[in-house]
């Protein structure tokens, strides 16, 4: 039987960790001063793919659309999932794409991966800069794959060629639901941030160690695995990518106007113990007593 073919789509994003992120004085992100890394949700998607490598010996391809420096995200993803192949889709005409135009590039790229037809494609929950969460499902739809969102756990039934997955559904102002579903391959999965992979058997742990070692070696020589495609090499129609292929545009960006003061604050000096004591009298009133346990 052929091994499972797995694709992961990832994104290079600003690094929001302290020391790397830089904010302007008005609270907005200073992009020029902020480093870029593999997005945290892309990292989770890569971990989910690695699970299939360890458990089923899957063949993994990782792809991204972005400027040439986005190969760094691919390298970081390879380090996590021991990818066999890395794809970078990079062309000036891709710039400014909205989610639909991005999905067009990613879909076309997935069709060019080594394994041929994919069994599972993974993407992250959402990008930490764009935060739309739309690119994954739109790529899935263009591929014609069954889409499973917010997946927190999955396994493949190789015999039946199905995936069994748990999904976390959070509905604002309502309860949360965990839904267990079964779907025939191929599927497109967006991985929930809470996903954790577990390797329980000795053979899985051995495989884990083996592939992790391999991943480290591969990522050191990631260029050996890297294929770069421009629009022409990818064979996309320029009308459907980048700005021309984007239904939406950013019309304007403005500072969110300061809301009218909704409350009038009493200002208290934090080093004045008497005043802080008075705050507790207030808390006492509001809570109808202070809870004593």
């Amino acid at each position: 039987m052929n091994p499972l073919n797995i694709a992961v789509i990832v994104k290079l994003e600003p690094d929001f960790s302290e020391g790397n992120v830089s904010y302007n004085s008005d609270g907005t992100l200073n992009r020029a001063e902020t480093k870029s890394i593999l997005g945290p949700h892309s990292a989770v998607a890569s971990r989910a793919a690695f699970y299939s490598k360890v458990k089923y010996g899957a063949h993994i391809s990782v792809s991204t659309m972005g400027p040439p420096i986005a190969d760094f995200a691919l390298q970081q993803a390879q380090l996590i999932c021991d990818a066999d192949e890395l794809h970078l889709y990079s062309d000036r005409i891709f710039a400014g794409a909205d989610t639909l135009a991005t999905a067009e590039v990613l879909k076309t790229g997935i069709g060019k991966m080594e394994g041929g037809k994919m069994d599972i494609v993974f993407s992250g929950h959402r990008a930490s800069d764009g935060e739309t969460g739309q690119t994954g499902p739109q790529t899935a739809w263009k591929l014609g794959y069954t889409f499973l969102g917010n997946v927190i756990d999955y396994d493949v039934d190789i015999e039946k060629q199905t995936v069994i997955a748990k999904r976390l559904i959070t509905l604002q102002g309502f309860y949360d639901i965990i839904e267990e579903v079964e779907a025939p391959l191929p599927v497109f999965i967006t991985i929930d941030p809470s996903y954790k992979s577990e390797f329980n058997t000795i053979s899985q742990r051995l495989a884990f160690a083996k592939y992790q070692k391999e991943a480290t070696e591969r990522a050191q020589n990631y260029k050996k695995y890297l294929k770069i495609f421009n629009a022409q090499q990818l064979g996309v129609d320029p009308k459907f990518v980048g700005l021309p292929g984007s239904p939406t545009i950013v019309y304007k960006v403005e500072k969110i106007p300061k809301a009218k003061a909704s409350r009038k604050a009493e200002i208290i000096n934090g080093s004045d113990r008497d005043q802080i004591r008075k705050v507790f009298a207030k808390i006492h009133d509001v809570l109808g007593g202070i809870i004593i346990k």
Binding site: V21, T28, K142, F174, E182, I256, F280
Partner: protein, 403 residues
Amino acid sequence: MTVITSEDGHYKHLFVIIEHEEGKPIPVSLEMLGEARRLMDHFNKKYSSHEKVVAIVLGNKVRKLCEELIFYGADAVIYAEDPELQYPRNIIDTKIISQIAMNRECIAKISPEDWEQFKKPRYMFFAADNIGRHLSSTVLAELESGLASDINKLVVEDLEIKHEHKTKGQMMTYAKTLEMYRPDFSGFLWTTILCLDNRNPTIERDYHPQACSIIPGVFAPLVPDAARNGIIVDYTPRIEKQDLNVKILNRKIIKSAVDFDVHKAIISFGRGIKDSPEENIKLIEELAKELDAEVGVSLPISKKPYVTSEKITSTYMIPDRVIGTSGRKVSPLLYIAVGISGAMQHTAGMKESEFVIAINTDENSPIKDECDIFIKGRMEDVIPVMIEELRKQKELIMGVRSK
């Protein structure tokens, strides 16, 4: 200047995709209807037209819900009922919603005067939650039009647009354009997204509907009015076997580990903890324990920006604790904001708290306008004093009781 207005009747009405659990509407569904009603009332007045707010419902035994949606502001409801539609499933739901969005017979029943020209809805609303976010993406991929996510303000305007690609650099009027405002991840910037037809002859293309997903908890629902009338249309969907290949094996309702609703008090922290994150979070934890409060965080904290112990990171720096437009909306009796600057994205989630205390070093931070008491100082200095005073008071009370 060229004026093309798309006023040939191909694109009409505002469709609102309703989410519900077994016939009970999710709050955001009613919020979307409220905003749709306000927007289309304004639209119809401005353009002397009669375009409708059309709610779309998929499910099993949803007739009663349809009636309820009329009370909440819909002019019409198109529903598809089938046991297979009991719970949301992306593929089949996407296909049926797309069928309905292009179905002239349904529109003929709702708006008999202009159905012949109808191609697709003018506007479309989805919920920006776990279901709607994905559903909106796939529906708009199927309808091949534009989608903006996480919107919290909507305006319809006639806009003068000059765009390199859309208009080939010419100034053109785009009538009845939906301005979709979305707060960015920082909560300080507002980006307006437009979905515009390509009028540039080399890439000419219609992009309708103009669609968006709407942040739950932002817009107010209407007060339901049982005297409101509307048209309810039963749509029989075309369901193909391969569209049902996702089997739901089981569905379990779970309680989130973080439950803000059972606590009278909430203490939230933001990037102000940065000088010594581990120690500061422990202080906040201690104060929360003394006040029997639940702990919340601002959105940046859920991105785990600091190196802290595994326990602190996995307990506190998680999306489940986020309060604001990207997380939960809360209204406790007491809300304490520690080291939170007060971006709109956060305050939208805590505005309705009964009493708000902010602890912050910067008197100019926006949180000052959202609190009742502003304690100016470093949390490292203020919180230990608070804990100490609180313990003293408790001892006092205990002492009185034991006498």
